[in-house]
């Protein structure tokens, strides 16, 4: 889908505020959001693509006005309420309780076993590569065109390459297709490719090359 997250080449942005010494988190609530996101995804409440899609569905003005970890918080609230893990009214009531008593801490039981589960995921990863019976459709050096139409749901094809010609530079394993996985429509793994695009073709300026990683169905033969 076209969404506010798809920022490659978007106009109007100023300088990057580079600070080599910034802390990992600016605020403790951001640290909590990171930990909660990792915890809820590790126990399988939602998948990585669903998580991304929940951020991408934010209204554009809200997306731009919120910081990175607030977007993560919105995604958790969206997914956990839509999936029925939490009830939206109950969640809002609890927010009001903490607003009325800001020094109140979260109480309850510890669950040390859960961290062991997370430790396993962290150390061994959660790879989304899957075997597929078909060989890759494209080979290194093939000229390809990124498809031009964007489907309404989640996708990982950046808008700035759609319709443009590129050259396959690397053939990668098949991975779970985000377009279906984000919507609980199955994994449908496809081969993925590293495709090089000429900046001048994309932006009508620039002498650099942009390389984008794409799933097979995001491509069609150049001719």
């Amino acid at each position: 889908m076209d969404g506010p997250h798809d920022l490659g080449g978007a106009p109007g942005f100023g300088p990057v505020r580079f600070d080599p010494d910034e802390p990992l988190f600016d605020h403790d609530w951001q640290r909590k959001v990171f930990g909660l996101t990792m915890a809820t995804s590790t126990i399988g409440l939602y998948n990585r693509d669903e998580n991304r899609h929940a951020r991408e569905r934010m209204p554009a003005a809200d997306y731009r006005a919120t910081g990175y970890f607030e977007q993560w918080l919105v995604a958790m609230e969206t997914n956990l309420t839509e999936l029925g893990v939490l009830d939206a009214a109950t969640l809002r009531a609890r927010v009001e309780e903490f607003l009325a008593a800001p020094d109140e801490e979260v109480r309850g039981k510890a669950q040390p076993d859960l961290f062991e589960l997370f430790r396993d995921t962290l150390e061994f990863g959660a790879s989304l590569d899957r075997p597929v019976p078909t060989p890759p459709r494209y080979a290194v050096g093939d000229h390809v065109r990124a498809v031009s139409s964007a489907k309404p749901g989640h996708t990982r094809l950046p808008a700035y390459v759609r319709g443009h010609l590129g050259v396959v530079r690397r053939v990668d394993p098949a991975f779970v297709l985000p377009d279906t996985n984000a919507h609980h429509e199955g994994e449908h793994p496809e081969h993925t490719y590293n495709v090089a695009f000429n900046a001048h073709d994309l932006w009508e300026k620039g002498d650099h090359e942009v390389r984008v990683d794409v799933w097979e169905s995001y491509l069609e033969p150049a001719d």
């Binding site: 909590k32 990171f34 909660l36 910081g67 607030e70 979260v106 109480r107 990683d213």
Partner: protein, 191 residues
């Protein structure tokens, strides 16, 4: 933007309901975050780079299959299941970005810094890298240096292998690792 009091309350509300439901414990969040605060970060990537500088065969293995090469140093895992290392030279400079979100090689570099996640970086690095590198990162590259911007848009996670600085020929691996910065492994700096 919501104010901090509202955000703090929303985060506590979410955590407290998840704890009540038995889905997580009160200790879970801290334990997870502490891993990223104390164990995983760019010091790991620096070890990989230093090894590649002193061991030519390792360098070749790294460029051929970074996932396997990093596992030789016990480096790998979540958000680094498929790693690719791209080498910067006198004539080709690679820089890594994720225009759609914030994909980043966690086991090698830790979790991404604010500037990498910022809309400014995501919007501009693919379109005008020469200018962003020169003006925002203080890295003016000669016209004769070809720039390749890698957008991490699928499952591969990228890092750059920076050039070894002149004058370090007699340094050992540990000392070399000490000069390798996060920025040099994303491609927004040279050493």
């Amino acid at each position: 933007m919501s104010d901090d009091a509202e955000l703090r309350a929303r985060v506590k509300a979410l955590e407290s309901l998840l704890v009540e439901r038995g889905l997580i414990g009160t200790d879970t969040v801290d334990q997870i975050v502490e891993v990223y605060e104390s164990e995983i970060g760019p010091l790991l990537g620096a070890q990989v780079v230093a090894r590649a500088w002193v061991d030519e065969e390792f360098r070749e293995r790294l460029l051929a299959d970074a996932t396997a090469a990093c596992w030789e140093l016990d480096i790998g895992g979540l958000q680094g299941e498929k790693l690719v290392a791209v080498e910067n030279t006198d004539t080709v400079h690679h820089v890594v970005v994720c225009t759609l979100c914030s994909c980043y090689p966690w086991p090698v570099l830790g979790i991404p810094p604010n500037w990498y996640k910022s809309p400014e970086y995501r919007a501009r690095m693919v379109a005008e890298p020469r200018r962003v590198l020169a003006e925002d990162f203080g890295l003016p590259l000669g016209e004769d240096v070809e720039i390749r911007v890698q957008d991490s848009s699928a499952e591969v996670r990228y890092f750059t292998l920076p050039q070894r600085p002149a004058g370090t020929e007699d340094w050992d691996e540990e000392r070399l690792a000490g000069i390798v910065t996060r920025e040099s492994m994303v491609g927004v700096a040279v050493l």
